[in-house]
């Protein structure tokens, strides 16, 4: 959480000199705007929700981008920088919930349920004669369905 004093002084000097805090890609060996944006793109600032950091025009977001630049200059990796933002501002700065298991599992299970329901629907709709056309189907375990199939066959 604490920064090297040097970097802080450099930053302060820049501010005092009235220069734009964002150095220019053409102006020196520091991190380029593109390097900053590549990380900023993956972060969301709580002040302007649902706008990615790289395009958010607010003052708070500009400061965040400067902070990314600063940390890049310190030689931190992308992962370290993202981790820093998470500890500072919480998991919501990430574009995706950190618990991937939950976020993907729930819709996956729901979709699977839909597939099963549809498969069962097909089973009920298909004429008994056409059943063999559908090898991947699970055999009806429900005794009611079995009886129903039986009755339908008799009716024919």
């Amino acid at each position: 959480m604490q920064f090297h004093r040097m970097i802080y002084l450099v930053l302060l000097m820049l501010v005092l000199m009235g220069l734009p805090v964002s150095p220019v890609s053409a102006q020196g060996p520091g991190p380029t705007d593109d390097e900053v944006n590549r990380i900023a793109k993956q972060l969301y600032c709580p002040v302007c929700e649902s706008t990615p950091l790289d395009v958010c025009p607010t003052e708070a977001c500009r400061q965040w981008r400067d902070l990314i630049r600063l940390q890049l200059a310190e030689g931190k990796s992308e992962e370290e920088i993202k981790q820093y933002f998470v500890t500072q501002y919480g998991a919501r700065v990430l574009a995706e919930p950190p618990n991937r298991l939950v976020s993907y599992l729930v819709p996956a299970v729901a979709i699977l349920l839909g597939v099963l329901l549809l498969a069962r629907g097909f089973q009920m709709w298909m004429k008994p004669a056409a059943v063999e056309a559908e090898p991947e189907e699970v055999a009806p375990v429900d005794p009611y369905v079995a009886r129903l199939e039986e009755e339908l066959k008799k009716q024919k």
Binding site: V24, G90, R92, L94, P97, S103, V106, G114, L118, K127
Partner: protein, 686 residues
């Protein structure tokens, strides 16, 4: 004074709507035709009444009546007249009134035109849409009064419907002005289109509920609302596309769709609506899926209300949100009530909604349509989960999370790809019977064509596997659809001796829904090309330039020439406009002017990109920052968005397709369907 008249008329409209609902219910319960007729007339009256109300509001907006709170909040003297009119839907209370007005137009149209033919449904249609309308009017009346005026009392200045004791009317010299983001031409039509779509989906829902209540469970309600549904879908789709275009032009993201919760809120009813459009065809053709269609239209209706709720209740925050207000809980109660009633009704009528035929083949068209429905529902599940997950996370773990584009893109892209593929296969399969053999026979030519095209793309454009799969599916679907279309036309040419263009024209005219649908499918593919391009191949760079310096991106050279800033007092805007020259391989391509507009009245800025658009790609330049003190440097963010123009062309073709499919024609019922409907009647009546 005028505002008070407006409020009076609004009150009368509300009471008329309520009367209409009760008269219709009473008339139906007591079998009293006079009462039902009276309900109908009351409903017809709401249209002129609400038109007067809206007219008064527009009068106030246009004539700078800033003593009216709503006028004060959304307009200012510097705004041109057309924007003052469109400010009608630029704020909470006005847009609620706009919604009610549309609702009254649609309900009146329905009850006016087809009254005698659909006697049994229409009283209940009046009830359902009347309740919806009364709900929106009630919110206007009791919570979000567009006619509230500002009065100075001892406590200070505040909005009041009626003049409080010991107060004087307060008229501010100027209004706050419309949010500059909403002043874009795209934004002028984007919300009304969305609202049109939203509101017109109420009509099929009302018919579905009427069918459930009356117990007439054949497909009559679907036939009656088919065209409504298509028009609703047209408006909703067009509204979404316009929203995308608006975002692309004024939000300065470099994109058109950000998977923002509010965008998704408008997208969800579109998903269920699209699924509904397809699955009703199965019911019409095969008499199946009656429960499912009911469920889909109920879902669509409640997602429409839910979407409106999300934007207005402050549950979610987003660029699109209206200010937080007290109407959230009311919306919630309304959603809960309609959802529970509808589901209860469908459970009550469950056994009357039996299927009439059976599925005969897993490759038949109805089976593929069911797969299509499954895919749409899956996308809906992903979207719904994405919207609701942050809420759940915050409530149960206390941790706020963001569900952003990476989640949606990862979760939905295989689903979208499957949908595109299905679009290619489905038109080839027949109703009832289809086998691998028949499908294969119809498909081998397009498959070969698609392989060749994909190989060309591989050789000349990209080697990315996912992109190649995408291009293959798109090529296949376009080829299949065009081939199908062409085969139909060619057959007609042979049998009728028409030339090929007449054949195309007449073929389309003969079965508008089918061929309009084909055009829609092709347009979807063009849009998919655009989406694939921008999602997979977008490039961006950013840098601060002094005059004469350049940034290079993807073969383009962007050279900064100059920047100027000036005020435009009549418009109340400060413009900061940059001039950049574009070169490619040393050749001069022209100049672009990315700019930043600052609006004095609302103290907001807007970043307007400079955009050079070609079929191959868009060069999209944003002015991010500039140094006022020295005026020597400006920071630009530059995107190259490949193929994105196909998205807009696709959406134009899409519009053509829907208009063809939805164009009114004389209603003809195929004999077979009539017979089935008649056979159905006794069982439905019991």
């Amino acid at each position: 004074m005028i505002a008070n008249i407006g409020f009076g008329v609004l009150t009368v409209s509300f009471l008329t709507t309520l009367y209409s609902v009760f008269a219709a219910i009473y008339g139906e319960r007591t079998k009293n035709p006079a009462s039902v007729e009276s309900a109908r007339r009351a409903m017809l009256l709401t249209w002129p009444l609400l038109t007067i109300t809206a007219g008064i509001l527009i009068y106030l907006l246009v004539n700078d009546h800033y003593e009216v709170q709503f006028v004060y909040e959304v307009t200012s003297r510097s705004m041109p007249t057309y924007l003052k009119i469109t400010a009608w839907w630029g704020g909470q209370s006005g847009s609620l009134l706009f919604w009610s007005w549309l609702m009254s137009v649609f309900t009146s149209l329905v009850t006016f035109r087809k009254w005698d033919r659909d006697r049994e449904f229409l009283p209940w249609v009046i009830v359902v849409s009347g309740i919806t309308m009364a709900f929106f009017l009630g919110m206007n009346l009791f919570f979000e009064n567009p006619f509230a005026q500002l009065y100075q009392t001892f406590e200070g200045i505040g909005p009041h419907t009626f003049q409080p004791a010991n107060s004087v009317l307060f008229t501010p010299a100027d209004g706050q002005g419309l949010n500059p983001l909403l002043r874009h031409p795209g934004m002028v039509i984007h919300p009304p289109m969305l609202y049109l779509g939203f509101v017109s989906f109420v009509i099929p829902y009302a018919f579905a509920i009427a069918a459930l209540i009356t117990g007439r469970t054949d497909d009559r309600w679907i036939r009656l609302t088919r065209r409504w549904t298509l028009w609703a879908w047209l408006f909703l789709s067009f509204g979404l596309v316009l929203g995308g275009r608006w975002a692309y032009d004024v939000l300065g993201w470099g994109g058109y769709w950000g998977w923002d919760p509010v965008e998704i809120a408008a997208f969800m009813p579109w998903l269920t609506g699209t699924a509904f459009l397809h699955s009703v065809m199965i019911q019409e053709k095969r008499g199946m899926l009656k429960h499912w269609n009911m469920l889909l239209i109920i879902l669509t209706y409640d997602l429409v209300i839910f979407g409106t709720f999300l934007t207005r209740s402050g549950v979610l925050s987003s660029v699109h949100s209206f200010a937080q207000s007290a109407i959230g809980p009311l919306f919630f109660v309304f959603i809960a009530a309609t959802l529970i009633t509808s589901v209860a009704l469908i459970i009550y009528r469950w056994k009357d909604l039996k299927s009439e035929t059976q599925m005969t083949s897993l490759l038949s068209r109805e089976a593929l349509f069911l797969l299509n429905n499954l895919l749409f529902m899956s996308i809906l599940v992903v979207c719904f989960w994405g919207v609701i997950y942050p809420l759940i996370s915050e409530l149960f773990t206390g941790e706020k999370v963001t569900v952003g584009p990476p989640f949606y893109e990862r979760a939905t892209s295989p689903l979208f790809a499957s949908l595109l593929f299905l679009m290619g296969v489905a038109p080839l399969s027949a109703w009832g019977h289809s086998t691998v053999k028949t499908l294969g026979r119809a498909m081998w030519k397009p498959i070969i064509g698609a392989v060749i095209i994909t190989a060309l793309v591989f050789a000349t454009y990209t080697q990315k596997v996912t992109a190649l799969i995408g291009f293959f599916i798109i090529a296949l679907t376009i080829l299949v659809t065009v081939y199908e279309y062409w085969r139909g036309a060619a057959a007609r040419q042979r049998s009728q001796g028409e030339n090929i263009f007449t054949a195309f024209w007449n073929l389309t005219g003969r079965n508008r829904r089918r061929y309009g649908g084909y055009i829609i499918h092709i347009s979807m593919m063009l849009m998919a090309i655009g989406i694939l391009g921008i999602e997979m191949f977008q490039k961006e760079t950013q840098g601060t330039l002094a005059a004469g310096e350049s940034l290079m991106i993807d073969g383009y050279e962007v050279r900064y020439r100059e920047i100027a800033s000036w005020d435009n007092p009549p418009a109340g805007v400060n413009y900061t406009r940059s001039v950049v020259d574009i070169y490619r391989d040393g050749a001069y391509l022209g100049q672009l002017n990315p700019r930043i507009d600052y609006y004095f009245d609302s103290q907001q800025t807007m970043t307007i990109p400079g955009n050079r658009s070609t079929l191959k790609d868009d060069l999209y330049i944003l002015l991010v920052n500039w140094e006022p003190a020295t005026a020597t440097g400006a920071t630009f963010k530059i995107y190259v968005n490949p193929l994105v123009n196909w998205l807009w062309f696709g959406s134009l073709l899409f519009l053509v397709g829907i208009v063809i499919a939805a164009w009114p024609e004389k209603e003809t019922e195929p004999a077979a369907v009539r017979v089935r409907a008649r056979a159905q009647q006794p069982s439905a009546a019991d």
